[in-house]
């Protein structure tokens, strides 16, 4: 004889059993689950974008210093979320570029760092043009690093910023390989993939990123590209700006003013 309680218990068990195959489907076709949660159609009103004016950058590296301290990337570790590159083009057509320590200490010598302890000094008269280019994560619209993460530990937040889940990352390094801009690395302490996230803890509180704030010359700006009145958004729409490595189809969201073809 089966009483009502046992019947209910068994019914629940049965339903749970049936739900199990659904869990399998969830991996394959999770859009359904997403729809069930009622989260579709809620598009974010914010899309963060960055603007770098390379004419203004003087290569002081205060942005790099601030970034490392703000985001707890060990100061002496040879990795960094943002860095500044120096390009020196000579009159005879040669291109020199370097970024010693990611320009954490700025550029306090005219000698170009050639690696392996070698340096090249370039005479003032030989210089055709020279400039600095700050680099950081492009927060791509189609981030290849996210596409290749095998476990869903890195993702694009609704406002376009690509974040890494430090508790879920397995540290395979595939995202580091997939990034055409070299912005990713392994965090020396957490031992997981690390990257610039536009100081997510700051921008979501209405603050500027640490690098934007630290820059004395206004070479770095951050804004919301979905807001037509945002100053950054206005410049990007109205002026001639370019992006890095657009041939990869990543649709990077860090825009540059004043870079030339030597910049990669």
């Amino acid at each position: 004889m089966i009483n009502r309680r046992d019947f209910l218990k068994n019914a629940v068990k049965g339903i749970a059993g049936l739900a199990l195959p659904l869990a399998a489907i969830e991996i394959v076709s999770p859009r359904k689950l997403f729809a069930a949660k009622g989260e579709t159609g809620k598009e974010s009103k914010i899309r963060w974008a960055f603007l770098v004016d390379t004419y203004k950058c003087v290569g002081c590296g205060l942005c790099v210093k601030a970034c490392k301290l703000e985001n707890e990337v060990p100061y002496d570790a040879n990795v960094t979320r943002t860095w500044v590159e120096r390009y020196v083009l000579t009159k005879d057509g040669r291109v020199f570029a370097d970024t010693p320590k990611g320009a954490r200490d700025g550029f306090t010598t005219s000698k170009i760092d050639l690696g392996e302890g070698k340096f090249q000094d370039i005479k003032k008269d030989d210089i055709q043009k020279a400039f600095f280019v700050p680099k950081l994560c492009n927060q791509c619209e189609n981030p290849p690093c996210v596409q290749v993460c095998p476990v869903g530990a890195t993702y694009q937040a609704p406002d376009g910023v690509v974040l890494v889940d430090r508790k879920w990352c397995i540290g395979c390094g595939y995202c580091i390989m997939a990034c055409p801009y070299g912005v990713r690395f392994f965090h020396p302490v957490y031992k997981v993939a690390e990257k610039c996230n536009f100081c997510y803890h700051r921008i979501t509180k209405g603050l500027k990123t640490a690098c934007v704030q630290a820059c004395p010359f206004g070479a770095r700006m951050i804004g919301n590209i979905k807001d037509p009145n945002d100053p950054v958004s206005r410049i990007i729409r109205n002026e001639r700006v370019s992006v890095l490595k657009d041939e990869y189809g990543t649709r990077p969201q860090v825009y540059y003013i004043g870079i030339s073809r030597e910049v990669i």
């Binding site: 040879n78 960094t80 020199f96 290749v148 095998p150 476990v151 879920w168 390989m177 070299g182 912005v183």
Partner: protein
């Protein structure tokens, strides 16, 4: 210290975060997967296409590919920064990632190999289990054996003529499914590299096919090598009349079988080797001819920095030399051993030149990175991703094979 800093030396313009993140273990990984796939394809040549001459090596190759299977995962585990989280690849797989899809394909493949072995050895398993069951006063070892074999029967003791016929059919079907899955498996390893658009050297649709071909080459070569080693040991034992196997009586018989099997297998090795080299050269020529933006840096890597590794070690010593050795008439066992060792070396160098070579130039296309394999480990990282870590990966399949051979003896007459 930052991961990668211990073995990377930078030259010219390299961005701060660039290191050789994928080191020797990622060289080992496609190399070992390749051996698995290759060994399986070799065994399937007999089971599916009924190439009788390969009968002797087929069963051997099958068990060997099972021994290699867990080892293909090992380098991945060793290179993960968070190895304890590796299981997440099965928990929350992200199918747009080649690595996650690889996990699924790999497991499927493992299931196929294990099932096929089960069918091949079922009669033996049941007989052993029954014999052990009926034996009075078993020793502890025999008790454990009995437990293992009872579990391995999966509860089926039916070894009637009809049931064995079904087994045979199942083996054929599994081997048939196994070939595309093995190719897919290794193609995927190639896809993991070939689909990285950020890497100028890796990104080519040919990568999966090149990987499959060289995988089969290396798998056959390793099977031949191990086969020869095992046969030599047995010859030695037969000569001293100490053999516990009851298969062959005399040294002469073993010798005759050995050279026949080797000659036959060598032909298939050459066939796949030609395929592999043609594809690799096609890739190289195509890159040079089309000469897109990245060709400048690639050329300086291929013809400059890595010339020795690519043209001398890989193509010269690893491909051309064994090619000649196998083609010269009157193939002997000794020559074969040298040949297959060189082939294995060549395939290893190919993996090396892809994995390390692909990371030896900067994303700026204006700088280089040099890899220095850590020899003497001074911390866990330089052990895992150093010479000793790699050696560990190389040795493990042989240990596993030795263990597996206790349960699935490779040399018993008339198993199948």
């Amino acid at each position: 210290m930052v991961h990668g800093e211990a073995w990377t030396v930078k030259e010219l313009f390299v961005t701060p975060n660039e290191y050789i993140y994928w080191s020797v273990q990622i060289v080992m990984y496609p190399f070992m997967t390749g051996l698995v796939a290759g060994a399986f394809v070799l065994s399937s040549l007999y089971h599916v296409f009924g190439i009788k001459q390969l009968k002797e090596i087929a069963r051997f190759a099958l068990v060997f590919s099972l021994a290699l299977l867990p080892v293909a995962m090992m380098p991945l585990q060793l290179h993960l920064q968070q190895p304890q989280r590796g299981i997440e690849v099965f928990l929350t797989p992200h199918f747009t990632s080649a690595i996650a899809a690889f996990g699924i394909v790999f497991s499927t493949y493992g299931a196929i190999v294990a099932s096929e072995i089960w069918f091949v050895y079922r009669k033996y398993i049941v007989e052993t289990a029954l014999a052990l069951r009926n034996k009075a006063d078993k020793s502890t070892g025999e008790k454990i054996y009995h437990l293992i074999f009872s579990l391995l029967t999966l509860g089926s003791y039916d070894i009637s003529e009809k049931a064995l016929h079904q087994d045979e059919k199942a083996v054929k079907i599994l081997a048939g499914i196994g070939i595309p899955v093995a190719c897919f498996l290794h193609g995927y390893a190639g896809f993991i590299f070939g689909s990285v658009k950020a890497n100028a050297l890796w990104m080519t649709p040919l990568m999966p096919v090149i990987f499959i071909m060289s995988a089969v080459v290396s798998g056959i070569a390793l099977c031949m090598l191990t086969y020869i080693v095992v046969m030599e040991i047995r010859k030695f034992l037969a000569a001293r009349k100490k053999t516990t196997y009851e298969t062959y009586e005399s040294t002469e018989e073993i010798k005759g079988i050995e050279i026949n099997v080797i000659k036959m297998t060598a032909k298939y090795l050459l066939f796949f080797l030609i395929f592999a080299i043609s594809l690799e050269l096609l890739d190289l020529i195509f890159r040079g001819y089309t000469a897109v933006k990245t060709w400048d840096i690639l050329r300086s890597v291929i013809y400059g920095k890595d010339f020795l590794d690519i043209f001398v070690f890989q193509y010269g010593i690893g491909n051309l030399l064994p090619f000649i050795l196998f083609l010269l008439p009157g193939l002997t066992i000794r020559r074969t051993v040298v040949g297959v060792l060189l082939v294995l070396f060549g395939v290893f160098m190919m993996r090396w030149n892809v994995v390390i070579g692909g990371q030896s130039f900067s994303l700026t296309f204006a700088g280089f990175m040099h890899y220095h394999l850590p020899i003497i480990p001074h911390d866990i990282e330089t052990f895992k991703e150093g010479l000793f870590g790699a050696l560990l990966v190389i040795i493990t399949p042989f240990v596993l094979f030795w263990g597996l051979n206790k349960i699935f003896p490779v040399f018993i007459k008339e198993v199948h």
